[in-house]
């Protein structure tokens, strides 16, 4: 009979169910508006209004023609706003639109359940976009609402407060968490089945060239670039030069990578050659970098990297790069030697790092030769130039526009600017003095989190500095910006700016209030842990974790672990649930009386349902007269305690029952 089909009752939906569905939809769709066009909100609103009118009986369900028309209009709208190519955004938009339009077909409980199931899927899709800890918390809230909406179908209809669904759903969800953790830890991870479109964002980030003004956009962005978690103490801020790109080519206005730097050889043979000439002198730091999706391949590392993972390439210009654009958050472990020396520079490189456009910036070229002759050595020349920067330059994010000869105009005329101007002019000056030099771009410093040994680097920490080749010392880092505004590298960009300039700079939320700052630090620390432990949990970390718990990892052992832990948890949960339920709130007097009954039961006497203790005792005494004295006394005590509230009697009764024998 259990498999028999029963007449299905056409169950129409209650007002409550409909309200739940609307609430669920709002919560589920909301985060997707980061991806999908805003007009879809209007579609949802209109459809929800229509469905509400249907519920009130004012309007009808749409006819087939109207439905088709609606779908058609939405598809046209989608094509207009996103183009016809199949992208992640269009996939999500289609999902959200069908989720909204399905409301117009919502007639009975079956449709309701279908909609909730679609909602589960859309909830999953939102994690593609958002996967920080906050997203997980929000997801939990959504899950709670979905469960409550489902539960609402299986409880007695009627007006209930929403907590009557939310609270029990919450309890069940919390009970499910331990099981989820076991599954999460144990279930093997496998690779993608097929390539999937990823969300594409117009990300602010380091571009592959640098011309005056490029960095302004970066400085105005509060967007996260990457986080770093140090194994040990965080090095001093002025040592944190995160290298992303090295520019060796200058066209008179724009710095970029040389042709050589872009070749594959630069990562393979050439970089291998270089490694044999690197001398790691110490000051080693070990750290994990969690790079945000940048859609660019370059990564971030401190010079000079000693070890790095397999899936990352080392470029000859002393930096790390991914094999393809970083489309999703990426985690890598690096060991760097802050103190290092490079002993090799081949002829082509030497030439490249002396390259200057044929003409332009005559004043700088002349002055460079003049100063070199004056000072006589590279060191002295740099010192003189730095002194010049220090004495007569002004650090500002809002420099006046520069003329055709960018370097001349900056060095000898406007003398206002920020890192890109300083590094650019410095390298130009060096090259003009026939000293090999190059521009390095990346990030400097970052927000040091005092809660854990980690650093959060945002786009506004973008920086450009210079490297000069000095025979016998290799590439030496010089930061001309530091000569003008030492606070930039010592305390961070915010401290180095004037009040008006600071307005330009992106401000992370709450950076002005100490308490908020503390909370933000804590929150950042949680997010970092989350990323390292949860989001980056992959087959290798799985293997090492399981090995730590289970010793030798064999499928058999894992299976046994799952069965034993899962089964144990279920039994424990069930026992807890029943124990809590079993506890009946009987009065103490009754419980004590039950103890007496238990002893009498052993002798074959069981009280009738309506029998008072006194009547029961009399019945027992009738067939066992030898108990008359003891049992009669106990019943006296019981009555005195129960009805006379005689606490003395309680003590006597308890001990009396303990010693009572039939």
């Amino acid at each position: 009979m259990i498999f028999n089909k029963r007449p299905v009752q056409e169950q129409s939906l209650s007002r409550e169910s409909l309200a739940w569905l609307f609430a669920v939809q709002i919560f589920i769709i909301a985060p997707h508006f980061a991806t999908v066009p805003a007009w879809i909100a209007l579609v949802w609103g209109a459809v929800a209004f229509w469905r509400w009118k249907i519920f009130q009986g004012a309007w009808n369900y749409p006819t087939k023609l109207k439905k088709t028309l609606l779908v058609f209009v939405c598809c046209i709208g989608l094509a207009l706003s996103m183009g016809t190519s199949f992208r992640f955004e269009s996939m999500v938009s289609l999902l959200v639109i069908s989720f909204s339009l399905k409301l117009l077909e919502l007639k009975n409980k079956k449709d309701f359940i279908l909609l909730i199931f679609i909602a589960f899927f859309i909830l999953a899709a939102q994690f593609i976009e958002f996967n920080y800890f906050a997203a997980a918390l929000y997801g939990f809230v959504c899950l709670l609402l979905l469960c409550a909406a489902l539960m609402q179908l299986y409880k007695k209809p009627g007006r209930h407060s929403i907590w009557q669904y939310i609270y029990p759903s919450m309890v069940i969800l919390l009970q499910a968490i331990p099981f989820m953790i076991i599954l999460f830890v144990v279930i093997p991870r496998i690779g993608s089945f097929w390539a999937v479109p990823s969300p594409i964002h117009a990300k602010t980030g380091m571009s592959n060239s640098m011309s005056p003004g490029d960095f302004t956009e970066l400085m105005e962005s509060d967007e996260l670039a990457f986080r770093v978690s140090f194994l040990n103490a965080v090095p001093a801020r002025e040592k944190l030069y995160w290298r992303s790109l090295v520019f060796s080519f200058f066209d008179g206005r724009m710095w970029s990578q040389s042709r050589e730097q872009k070749t594959e050889n630069y990562f393979n043979q050439a970089s291998k050659n270089l490694l044999s000439h690197v001398q790691y002198k110490g000051d080693r730091v070990e750290y994990d970098v969690i790079a945000e999706a940048s859609m660019k391949p370059w990564l971030y590392a401190l010079a000079a990297p000693e070890t790095w993972p397999q899936n990352i390439a080392f470029a000859r210009d002393m930096r790390l790069q991914a094999f393809g654009p970083v489309v999703e958050r990426m985690n890598y472990h690096v060991v760097s030697s802050l103190d290092y020396q490079l002993n090799e520079l081949n002829a082509a490189e030497l030439k490249q790092n002396l390259q200057l456009p044929k003409n332009g910036n005559p004043q700088t070229r002349a002055r460079a030769k003049e100063w070199l002759a004056e000072t006589g050595s590279t060191d002295k020349l740099i010192e003189k130039l730095f002194n010049y920067y220090h004495q007569s330059f002004f650090y500002t994010l809002k420099p006046p526009p520069l003329g055709v000869d960018v370097v001349d105009d900056f060095l000898w005329n406007s003398r206002q600017g920020f890192c890109e101007h300083f590094s650019s002019s410095f390298v130009y000056f060096m090259r003009a003095a026939n000293i090999p030099a190059r521009v390095v771009v990346g990030y400097q410093g970052g927000d040091i989190n005092s809660v854990n040994t980690s650093i959060t680097v945002r786009q506004r920490d973008a920086h450009a500095w210079a490297e000069v080749w000095i025979e016998g010392r290799g590439w030496v880092t010089y930061d001309p910006t530091a000569a003008v505004a030492p606070e930039r590298v010592k305390k961070g960009i915010e401290q180095s700016l004037s009040a008006t300039d600071r307005e330009l700079l992106a401000k992370p939320f709450g950076s002005s209030v100490t308490l908020l700052l503390r909370i933000r630090e804590q929150w950042d620390a949680i997010n970092l842990k989350w990323t390292l432990w949860v989001m980056n949990y992959d087959p290798s970390s799985q293997a090492s974790l399981l090995e730590r718990f289970l010793g030798n990892v064999s499928p058999m052992r894992v299976a046994i672990f799952v069965v034993v832990s899962g089964g144990g948890l279920s039994v424990l949960l069930f026992a807890l649930l029943m124990l809590r339920s079993r506890k009946q709130d009987l009065p103490q007097t009754t419980l004590v009386y039950f103890q007496l009954c238990k002893k009498l039961k052993a002798a074959g006497f069981i009280p009738f349902p309506n029998e008072t203790p006194r009547a029961f005792a009399n019945r027992v005494i009738a067939s066992k007269p030898e108990l008359a004295v003891t049992l009669g006394h106990l019943i006296d005590l019981y009555e005195r305690w129960t009805y006379g509230e005689d606490n003395q009697a309680e003590v006597q009764l308890r001990s009396g029952i303990r010693h009572f024998k039939v």
Partner: protein, 319 residues
């Protein structure tokens, strides 16, 4: 499949025999994913594929969370039925073609509520019930009466999809509970009055009428209008005035008077006249081949007569 079904049915029936009182224990509760649960499993797999394709641990985590949710709801589905006690209560008898109803008392012996219980008997729509901790709820099950005689309450299937509809928990409840089904009243032209009983004369009816017959001793609970107040005032104590109706004829509904070729039709006819006389407050007796019911009036008398008709030719069976 059908063989498995049969095997399961026999096995389940052995576990829950017909009884006066059914308490749901772990042995008699079954749980299995419902259709919605199967769909939910497909959904979990879809989400898992999504998470694997995007190599996204949060999505994978969600699919594991939903799996765990299903696991935990097994426990809650089971708990939702555990400890329920079913006891038969009143029944409403019915004639063939009407609905007989069976009242059942459901008590929860645990300190938690039981939600969304569905009780199914045969192919009727399920009856919904929600039972609160430690409380007793009455549920009425209706069954169409098809045959005369005792209608045993068939095995009840108790189902619940609580909490999220993914798991179905069910149990079989076989209660010793029966209702009497009377023959369907079918009118015929003449009441089948018994022959040889048409003695002329005036009978004193057993029911009250307006012929004064004398005094009776007072009995507590007698209507005030019947008390002989005048006699009481004279100090004669409490007495009742006894009035009886006079009836010129005594009616005997008699099996013999019917053409008894069709037993069921004969019983139906008798049933019609029993109801007719009883409705019109006419005193009557009933004579069947094995049973004779002495003349009388009132609902109890009617019930006696109808019971005799219902059980005509049925072997007495014990419940």
């Amino acid at each position: 499949m059908s063989q498995f079904k049969q095997y399961f049915q026999r096995w389940a029936a052995k576990r829950s025999p017909r009884a006066d009182r059914v308490v749901l224990q772990h042995r008699t509760i079954y749980v299995f994913p419902s259709k919605q649960g199967a769909a939910f499993l497909v959904l979990i797999i879809l989400i898992w594929v999504l998470g694997t394709n995007y190599q996204n641990n949060l999505i994978l985590g969600l699919s594991f969370f939903l799996t765990s949710l299903m696991l935990v709801s097994i426990i809650h589905a089971f708990k939702n039925l555990l400890g329920l006690t079913f006891v038969p209560d009143a029944t409403r008898h019915a004639a063939v073609g009407e609905m007989a109803s069976f009242d059942i008392q459901i008590t929860s012996s645990y300190q938690h509520d039981h939600h969304g219980l569905l009780l199914l008997v045969d192919d009727f729509y399920p009856v919904r019930a929600d039972i609160h901790a430690g409380k007793t709820t009455h549920v009425q099950l209706n069954l169409s009466a098809r045959h005369r005689g005792w209608l045993k309450l068939p095995r009840i299937v108790l189902k619940s999809y609580f909490p999220f509809g993914m798991i179905r928990a069910w149990a079989y409840i076989d209660l010793k509970h029966r209702a009497l089904i009377f023959p369907q009243p079918i009118a015929c032209d003449q009441p089948p009055l018994g022959a040889g009983q048409g003695d002329e004369g005036i009978y004193l009816s057993t029911q009250r009428g307006d012929e004064f017959q004398g005094f009776q001793n007072y009995q507590p609970g007698a209507p005030l209008s019947q008390i002989a107040w005048k006699q009481f005032a004279r100090g004669a104590g409490m007495h009742l005035k006894d009035y009886r109706a006079l009836q010129s004829e005594q009616f005997w509904l008699d099996w013999q008077a019917l053409n008894a070729r069709d037993t069921e039709l004969a019983l139906s006819n008798l049933s019609y006249w029993v109801n007719y006389f009883a409705d019109n407050n006419i005193e009557f007796g009933l004579r069947l081949p094995q049973v004779t019911i002495e003349p009388g009036v009132g609902d109890v008398h009617r019930l006696d007569a109808l019971t005799a008709l219902a059980l005509f030719g049925r072997i007495q069976e014990d419940e």
